[in-house]
């Protein structure tokens, strides 16, 4: 571990690192020059493929492989950079943008050269106002210095980079949602196939990559695939930016080899759990990925190991720590509210399912819970998402995972909560229960729900008991 040399963050503490002058003085744009002037685009693609760089945006798809899906006979390629970073507690892309914009631009330049894209769109999260300004300044600087624009380094390669700001929707981080939004439409993810590499933005072959993924590319070009593969764990190579937040002493964004354990992150880098408390659980990589319980904190945070404790994956490597004073129901309230709010509303299971789960969890929180609610939610969560095949995009999986994990790991606590938190009037009314069960509703009996008048006495009803 002592030999690990950070590369993504190497300029972060250098004064004025954002400026092109400082960046160039520290070896900036040398990798781009090397790639553009001495390498063939396909050689760059092969290099990235050999490095087994996996996407940092959440899905962990091999980056080089994705680039080879582009049709061979394409006329035009578009590069969309996913900077919509909206996963709660994730801020590594933001640090990269704000502290070292030129490294990011160099990554775009090499990747566009490799994929033969001469237009690149950087889709930035709406709330990143400062980052937008910084990246726009950097683009202007790089263009003036000939790193972008026409005939870069005399190679005849042209590249334009445009910044596009989102409008505040999590779903626009999903790659096809991003493309729709970029086209000026509502950010509704598309069905696949066709994948963006075949038909993406404006119906052209399109590559979508995360900011951090692209930031790794210059270093791979500079130091080679073997160097990259020497870092990390098998199948998860390279350096990774981890963010730690929540109930820790120090909220940080650190660069470490892939495969660091959750406990190391908390104890060695974030100053431990705050106020001397113990961790009850930790979210391993953005709330879509589920939950690690306290005894699972030694799980390495890489693309493979998180399956074992039942999490969805590494996600954005954004660790959120939950201390032992926090009820798990509060975690569920927050996650379910987020996904119900952010579901785009396209697929029936996600639209209705996230709303339903959020309502049920809020009811439990307010003291109206029933034990069977947990089973209903679990059944629902198990049938939600692209893994069972019931939705278009992965948001629904992300909505299901916190519930699945919380119920698998903290069910006794949740049952206890339901039993001890019962507030009169917070639960479902008898009428709601009857309607749901398909029972015939006696409006007279359910007087508290509907004040029904007594049945009218018919004139000719000799058999009527009280006649």
């Amino acid at each position: 571990m002592a030999t690990f040399e950070p590369v993504l963050t190497r300029n972060w503490n250098v004064p004025d690192a954002r400026s092109l002058k400082v960046y160039e003085s520290r070896g900036g744009y040398q990798a781009a020059r090397k790639a553009l002037t001495t390498m063939d685009p396909d050689a760059v693609v092969n290099l990235v493929k050999d490095s087994e760089l996996r996407g940092r945006g959440g899905a962990g798809f091999p980056c080089g492989l994705k680039w080879t899906f582009l049709p061979k006979d394409r006329k035009e390629t578009l590069m969309c950079v996913n900077g919509d970073e909206s996963e709660p507690a994730t801020f590594n892309n933001r640090y990269l943008l704000e502290r070292d914009p030129h490294m990011f631009l160099e990554g775009i330049l090499i990747s566009c050269f490799a994929t033969r894209a001469s237009t690149s769109y950087v889709y930035l999260r709406f709330e990143y106002i400062e980052a937008t300004r910084i990246i726009e300044e950097a683009i202007a600087e790089a263009r003036a210095a000939g790193h972008l624009g026409k005939n870069i380094y005399g190679t005849g390669f042209n590249l334009d980079v445009w910044v596009h700001r989102g409008a505040g929707a999590y779903i626009c981080g999903e790659e096809t949602g991003l493309i729709e939004s970029l086209e000026g439409k509502r950010g509704w993810p598309r069905i696949k196939p066709p994948f963006p590499a075949i038909e993406g933005a404006f119906r052209k072959p399109t590559v979508v990559n995360n900011i951090e993924t692209l930031c790794c590319v210059p270093h791979i070009v500079e130091r080679g695939a073997a160097w990259f593969k020497s870092i990390g764990t098998p199948k998860s190579y390279g350096p990774k930016l981890y963010t730690v937040s929540g109930h820790v002493e120090k909220q940080v964004c650190v660069e470490l080899p892939l495969g660091v354990t959750c406990r190391e992150l908390i104890d060695d880098h974030a100053g431990g759990v705050w106020k001397g408390r113990k961790a009850k659980a930790a979210v391993p990589g953005g709330i879509s990925m589920g939950l690690l319980s306290a005894d699972e904190l030694d799980t390495p945070l890489d693309f493979e190991s998180l399956r074992k404790p039942g999490c969805l994956g590494l996600g954005t490597a954004a660790v959120t720590v939950i201390d032992d004073h926090t009820p798990i129901i509060d975690y569920l309230v927050n996650t379910s509210r987020f996904f119900a709010h952010e579901s785009c509303g396209q697929c029936t299971p996600c639209r209705e399912g996230t709303g339903w789960m959020s309502k049920t969890i809020h009811r439990i929180k307010n003291g109206g819970g029933r034990i069977e609610d947990l089973d209903v939610m679990l059944h629902l969560a198990e049938n939600l998402g692209i893994i069972p095949g019931t939705t278009i995009c992965g948001l629904a999986d992300g909505a299901a995972w916190p519930i699945k994990n919380a119920l698998a790991k903290f069910r006794p606590e949740l049952e206890e909560y339901i039993r001890t938190h019962q507030t009169p009037g917070a639960g479902p009314t008898p009428l709601q229960l009857d309607v749901a069960a398909g029972r015939r509703v006696d409006l007279f009996q359910v007087g508290n729900a509907i004040a029904a008048p007594p049945p009218a006495a018919a004139l000719h009803s000799p058999g009527r008991p009280d006649a």
Partner: protein
């Protein structure tokens, strides 16, 4: 030969068509339920009702490999070796879940909903759903709103299939509708300051909506759909000849819906045709009986007397050596035109046959869906078909002309006939109109009356000329008569009668048959058409008198081959459902 395995049975895949799993299964009689998919719109796969188990069969070993997850049938192409399982416990469990989810926030207001009886939610609930659910939270309640003067949106009933939105984007390309908000608060809405009022095809969104969310205010709360009897007809409001279903209860038409014809109107009709039924059956303006001019006034007479007077008047003119002329309006069916022409020519071969004026308004307006623009989903299954509203506002100008050409050799234009009338060359004139609007104005009518000694007008409405005619024959409206029309593309299509003849009138075909003294009881349009097809080479396509479902082209050309090709998939929401089907 390419084959597909559906629920364990192997079926050949028809060649030359790109079908998805829903269409392929339907061809072999296996129903896959769906909401958001529509054969003329792009595939978005968002309702998730059509999910099935999909796999593939190894061509060499015959081994079947299934995918672990469910896949929407709408986005699954029917390819050689595809395996579909549509009835497994897993699929049925999934369908139950989707039904439960769709109904979470759906109000239980079927008793007051117009869609009841032809509703996708009702039908699939019954077939694939369950009678209880686990949802005990509060439902979302959304207010009703209008998306145009004629269309109401009941947002709580909407299932977000986005068919309506895709229609305005992909077919009319006017994009008035959109989705607002996210998640289960998503709503269909028009853009600010926009409504569907100016969209000439707006009414189709009501038909597209699989539930009772978009409703026609013209029909709102007027009838329960199971009381309606549906009659296959053809729209007479322009020369496109859209296939329609005229829906009536106890002799009153309540609404007109499109019928699918891939060669003519696909699944659509324009609003003019949709709401046109009101003008056609406005009661105060219809002819209630046959009239004869006695002195200054018209007196109602029995049908046979009126017909006798017509025959006598015309024959006297012939005997007196005066020219007899007939005006055959483009609203007559082919069969009516043929009988009228034979009648007049049979009286004297000098009779002049003229085609009536063909009304025109505005310009042809074509909506040509384009696979590349404005689409929001997968378009690879689409065969975009343009839809045209013609400026020519009559259904059968081509058919009537072809009949006159056959009987007389050449067509006399209406203007030419008017000149002959003005020159005093016409002694007796027989005008058969059937037009839903007036096409002879007062001054022309007065002139005609002055010059023509014996004037017969046959019409369904009271027009300027009828006030001056010697004999007025009450014919049928388009809904009261059966026969065929030739549309702008030369396609001959059969329209059945939707209503019985009104009291005091007789369908035009019967009037001509009586005049001709045709043997064999009431005239059948198919017999007449068969005779015409036998006699006139131009109508050879109608041989035998019965036409195929989608009609037949009179002259085969590259753009309209004589063969109709395989029957394309018909969207389920168009098939008559429930009780209405049984009547």
């Amino acid at each position: 030969m390419a084959t597909i395995l559906i629920n364990g049975t192997e079926y050949p895949i028809p060649e030359g068509e790109k079908l998805n799993a829903i269409q392929m299964a339907k061809r072999v009689g296996v129903e896959i339920p769906y909401y958001c998919w529509h054969p003329s719109l792009s595939v978005v796969a968002n309702c998730r009702m059509c999910e099935v188990e999909v796999g593939s069969k190894d061509p060499k070993t015959g081994e079947v490999k299934m995918m672990p997850k469910l896949v929407p049938g709408c986005q699954t192409p029917a390819k050689d070796g595809t395996v579909l399982v549509t009835d497994s416990a897993k699929v049925q469990e999934h369908q139950r879940m989707i039904m439960e989810l769709l109904l979470l926030n759906h109000p239980l207001d079927c008793p007051v909903c117009d869609q009841a009886g032809e509703c996708g939610l009702q039908d699939y609930s019954y077939e694939h759903g369950q009678s209880n659910h686990r949802f005990v939270e509060e439902r979302i309640v959304n207010p009703r709103k209008d998306v145009s003067d004629l269309i109401q949106l009941n947002q709580d009933r909407c299932i977000m299939c986005t068919r309506c939105v895709r229609f305005t984007r992909e077919i009319t390309q006017t994009a008035e509708l959109q989705v607002m908000r996210r998640g289960n608060h998503a709503e269909i809405a028009t853009f600010p300051g926009v409504s569907l009022d100016d969209n000439p095809l707006a009414g189709n969104v009501v038909d597209l909506c699989p539930v009772g969310a978009l409703l026609d205010k013209d029909f709102l709360h007027k009838q329960r759909v199971w009381f309606l009897a549906k009659h296959d007809s053809v729209c007479t409001h322009c020369s496109t000849g859209c296939n329609i279903s005229v829906e009536e209860n106890k002799g009153k038409i309540w609404r007109v819906k499109p019928r699918n014809n891939p060669h003519v109107n696909d699944y659509w009709i324009c609003d003019e045709g949709r709401y046109g039924y009101k003008d056609d059956s406005a009661p105060d303006d219809l002819l209630e009986a046959m009239y004869v001019l006695k002195g200054d006034d018209h007196v109602a007479v029995a049908i046979d007397e009126a017909v006798r007077l017509v025959d006598r008047g015309l024959k006297q003119a012939v005997i007196g050596g005066r020219t007899v002329a007939g005006v055959l309006s483009p609203f007559l069916t082919v069969e009516e035109a043929y009988l009228m022409a034979t009648y007049l020519k049979g009286m004297t071969s000098d009779a002049v046959l003229a085609v009536g004026p063909v009304p025109a308004r505005g310009e042809d307006r074509t909506f040509s869906p384009d696979k590349s623009a404005g689409r929001s989903g997968d378009t690879s299954f689409l065969a975009p078909r343009p839809f045209t509203i013609h400026a020519e506002k009559a259904p059968n100008a081509r058919g009537v002309r072809a009949v006159i050409e056959h009987v007389q050799g050449a067509v006399v234009e209406y203007d030419e006939l008017l000149r002959k009338v003005e020159a005093g060359e016409v002694g007796a004139l027989y005008v058969a109109s059937g037009s839903p609007t007036d096409w002879i104005d007062e001054p022309t009518a007065a002139k005609v009356r002055e010059k023509v000694a014996f004037l017969v007008v046959q019409d369904s409405r009271v027009g300027a000329l009828a006030h001056k005619a010697d004999v007025v024959l009450a014919g049928g409206t388009y809904a009261e008569k059966a026969g065929s029309y030739v549309n702008a593309d030369g396609r001959i299509q059969y329209a059945g009668a939707s209503l019985p003849p009104r009291d005091g009138s007789l369908p035009d075909l019967d009037l001509f048959a009586v005049l001709l003294d045709r043997p064999g009881g009431p005239a059948r349009s198919s017999d007449v058409l068969a005779e015409l097809a036998e006699a006139a080479p131009a109508f050879a396509a109608a041989k035998g008198g019965t036409l195929p479902l989608y009609g037949a082209t009179l002259e085969a050309s590259a753009s309209s081959p004589r063969e109709n090709g395989p029957p394309p998939f018909v969207d389920a929401w168009y098939a008559a459902m429930g009780a209405a089907k049984a009547r």
